[in-house]
Structures are given as structure tokens and as C-alpha cells.
């Protein structure tokens, strides 16, 4: 009887672990990538107060690195660019030329745990409108 019970418990545990792993994959399929895209376009996401303290950044634009918990994932964001990489000035700004366009590159990696395997990653280029 004890043997049967132990075998049953092991089976149940195994099934649960398998189901949990499947659920984790399904969760990744639903929100990991959209979280990555969201953070790519926003260097300071508007987080719930319960996790807002986990988001931290180092450096300043156009070179900025950030990380923290977003939507249940550990997200790391890296934006790099050259301050001198001005691709255009806005002649309509007042005074003219006050606004410049800069190109930066953003890389985002989403993980289930800090230091865990990547669940999703996204890279893009941003054109930033900045005041020099």
C-alpha cells in the first residue's frame, strides 16, 4: 500500500510539473513577446506600485540600460546610440533646428526568472526626437 501511495504521489507530482511547464510555455507564447515590444518602446514602463521598485536604470540616453520585473517576467533593456548621430534637424521647431532626430538601437530580453533562460527577445531601432 505504501509503495502504491508513493508511486501515486510521484506520478501526481510529475504530472503537475509537466502541466506547470506547459502552462509556462503557454504564458510565454501569450505575453512574453508583447512585453518585450512594449518595453522596447518605453524605457521607463509604468509599473504597478508593488513591482515599480524593481525597475532600475543606469546611464543616460542615448546609452541606457534598464532591468526589472514587468508582467511577471525579468526584463533587461539596453539602448545604445551615438550622441553625434543626428540624422535630421527639425526646421519647423522654434527656434529652427532646436529639435534633432537621433537613431538608437534597443535590445530587450525577457526571462521568467532573474538569470534564467530567455523567454523572448526583441530588437528594434528608435528615432528619438530630442532637444540638443
Amino acid at each position: 500500500m505504501l509503495l502504491i501511495a508513493v508511486l501515486g504521489l510521484i506520478s501526481v507530482t510529475g504530472l503537475f510539473l509537466y502541466a506547470a511547464e506547459s502552462a509556462k510555455k503557454a504564458q510565454v507564447a501569450s505575453t512574453a513577446m508583447i512585453t518585450a515590444i512594449s518595453v522596447a518602446y518605453d524605457d521607463s514602463p509604468w509599473l504597478d506600485p508593488s513591482v515599480a521598485g524593481t525597475w532600475s536604470s543606469t546611464g543616460t540616453l542615448p546609452n541606457l540600460s534598464s532591468s526589472g520585473w514587468v508582467n511577471g517576467y525579468w526584463v533587461t533593456r539596453s539602448e545604445t546610440g551615438l550622441a553625434a548621430d543626428v540624422i535630421a534637424t527639425d526646421p519647423l521647431s522654434v527656434p529652427a533646428g532646436k529639435v534633432v532626430m537621433q537613431s538608437t538601437r534597443v535590445d530587450v530580453v525577457v526571462r521568467f526568472s532573474q538569470g534564467g533562460n530567455p523567454a523572448a527577445s526583441f530588437s528594434t531601432r528608435l528615432i528619438r526626437q530630442a532637444t540638443p
Binding site: M1, L2, A5, G8, L9, V12, T13, F16, A19, A20, A23, A26, Q27, S30, T31, I34, T35, I37, S38, V39, Y41, D42, D43, S44, P45, W46, L47, D48, S50, V51, L61, P62, V70, N71, G72, D90, L92, S93, V94, K98, V99, M101, Q102, L126, I127, R128, Q129, A130, T131
Partner: protein, 357 residues
Amino acid sequence: MMLRVEPQAEGPREPAGRSQPRPPGQGFTLVELMTAMGMAMVITTVVLSALMQFWRASDRVTVRLAMHSKAALVVDQLSFHLTALQQHTALVAEWVDVGAAGSPDPRMRLLFMRGVFDQNNWDYSSYSDYPTWPMPTSTDLVWELWEWRASNHCLYSATNGQLPRHASGTLPNGSHLNINGVDYGNLDFINLPQPHRLLPLPWQASLNANMLFPTVPGNLATSPSMIPGDVGDWTDLSNNLVPVLTGVSTDAQDPANPASWDGVTDFGIQLRLRNGTVREFTTASAYGTLVIPGVRIDGRPGPTDGDGAQTLADANISGPGLRPDLVRLRWMMRDRRTNTQVPFSFSFPLPGFAVSP
């Protein structure tokens, strides 16, 4: 291995492995029975406890997965629609109590217009000043409303209704649709919701004044079906609201008390304007309305058309027409049955360049 079968003696069969045969007629001792029952109880308790834990964990995983799936649906829809947001139309964010005195009904709203333009969307004729009139051939402008209700913890969405199509043949023979000197005759067109670059408060009343051709003496009188009526106005949007984000499980909810329902228990809207400033509405905020006028994108900085003095330069981050470059939403999904709470935060880039805050 060889098995040997011994002749069975009288009395009950002895348990396997017992070294000494039990004397005939003698049952189990009290100690043996109590030991066996104790072991059975312990094993049963452990198994039941493990199963309970398993089912609870399974429930939580299922609920959490459903929450993420629902969030993905909302983000997918909003991303698609906000990407097509029209910069020339007003944008409204609002946290307002629409309930009667003594029965509050707070709602969080985001209203905007989306669509896709082509070269026929704007009137570039020689007429003096129609910078905000769409051409009648425009077919793809849609007002869109997202509304979260604190009363039942549900997020709703609506778009304007179906647009009636009118062919030029419906006009009286020989007549052209002439509006303030602009001749729209001989055109097939679909009645459109009005873009509304400005929405003076109360913005609902302004949006309800939704006649694409508001001052037409004569022509519309002979063809009243060309009046868009309620299509794309506030009444239309209000009537079309449908729930898109609700609770995950409904069996634990009290029908008599919708405010206690699970679902989206908190909702917030934050707009990052092009000068880097942030305007936000949360359930902890004071009630308020933010109407951001549209910017003129037809290239004609005419300040004397009666709807303000904005020019194309207003679209810049140094001008007063501060359009947002980013819409941020956050909400909390709650399920009390499984004691699960998941906060979600998403940012939606709007058309145009990102700003450097």
C-alpha cells in the same frame, strides 16, 4: 526463481513474509490493527493533502494563464488600433463619475480616432480654408472608445457603427453636393464620422454634433439620408460598448454585488506628451478630463479658420499642441477564488518619433 507451495493449514491465510504461522482461530492483535489503521490514516492524509495542493496549484496556473491570454488579446487589439491613430483628431483621456448622486459609477476612458489615409483623404483644392475636412471618398475613419468601469471591474470597447454608403446616383438628378463652396458632386462616397480636431468640453456633446457636412442649405434637405446621424458620434459609441476584459472565474461572484466581482480591479491611463511631461489617471486620482487637440497635418498653417490658432509647428515638442508619443496602460487582474493577482503594464507607441524624456 523457484516457488514452493506449502499445503494450507486451517484458519485464515497468513500474511506473506510472516516467519511464524498464526495459530488457528487467532485474529490480528489490537496493536497490529491500530498500527495498520494509523499507517493508512497517515498515508491517506498525505495523499489527500498532496492532491489538494495539486488542484490548488493547478487552479492558480490555469487562472494565471487565462489572465495572460486576456491581457494579450487587449494588447493586440490596442496596439493595432493605436498604431493607426489619427494625429489630426482629438484624443481624450478621462476619469469620471457618471453615476447619479449617492450611487457613484466611476469610469476610465480613452477615446481616439483611427484610420488609414490615402491621397484622396484631404481637400487640397483651391478653396480657401478647409484644413480639417476629409474628402467624401474617405472610407476608413473610425472613432474608438475604451472604457473601464469600476462598478463591475470590466473593460469595454466600442467603435462606431456601420457606415452607410451613398452613391452619387442617390442625389437628385443634376444636383451636386455643395458645401460652403466645395462641390462634391458626381462622387461615390461613404458617410463618415467627423474627425473633430477639437473637442470643446463637454466633449461628448461636441462629438455628438457629428454631421460631416454641418452647414448645408438645401442639398441635404433633399437627400436626408446623407446625414451621418449618429454614426461615429458619442451616442453611437456608447451603444456599441461591449466587454473585452472580464473576470477569469465567475462562480465565486456575488450577482447582487458587482463591485466585488473579480476581473480588472484597477486600471490606469498615462500619456507621455512630446515635451516629456506625463499626464495620468488612476483610481487614486481626482476625477478629470484631458482633451488633446489634433494637429493639422495638411501643411496649411491657417490660423483664422475659427478653430484656434494652431499651426503645423504645434506638432513639435516645443509647441502648445502637445500630442502624446506614448500611451501607457496598467491594470491589476484579480481572482479571489484562487487568491491570484497579476499586475500588467504595457506601453503603446503612437505614430511619430519617440521623445527623449
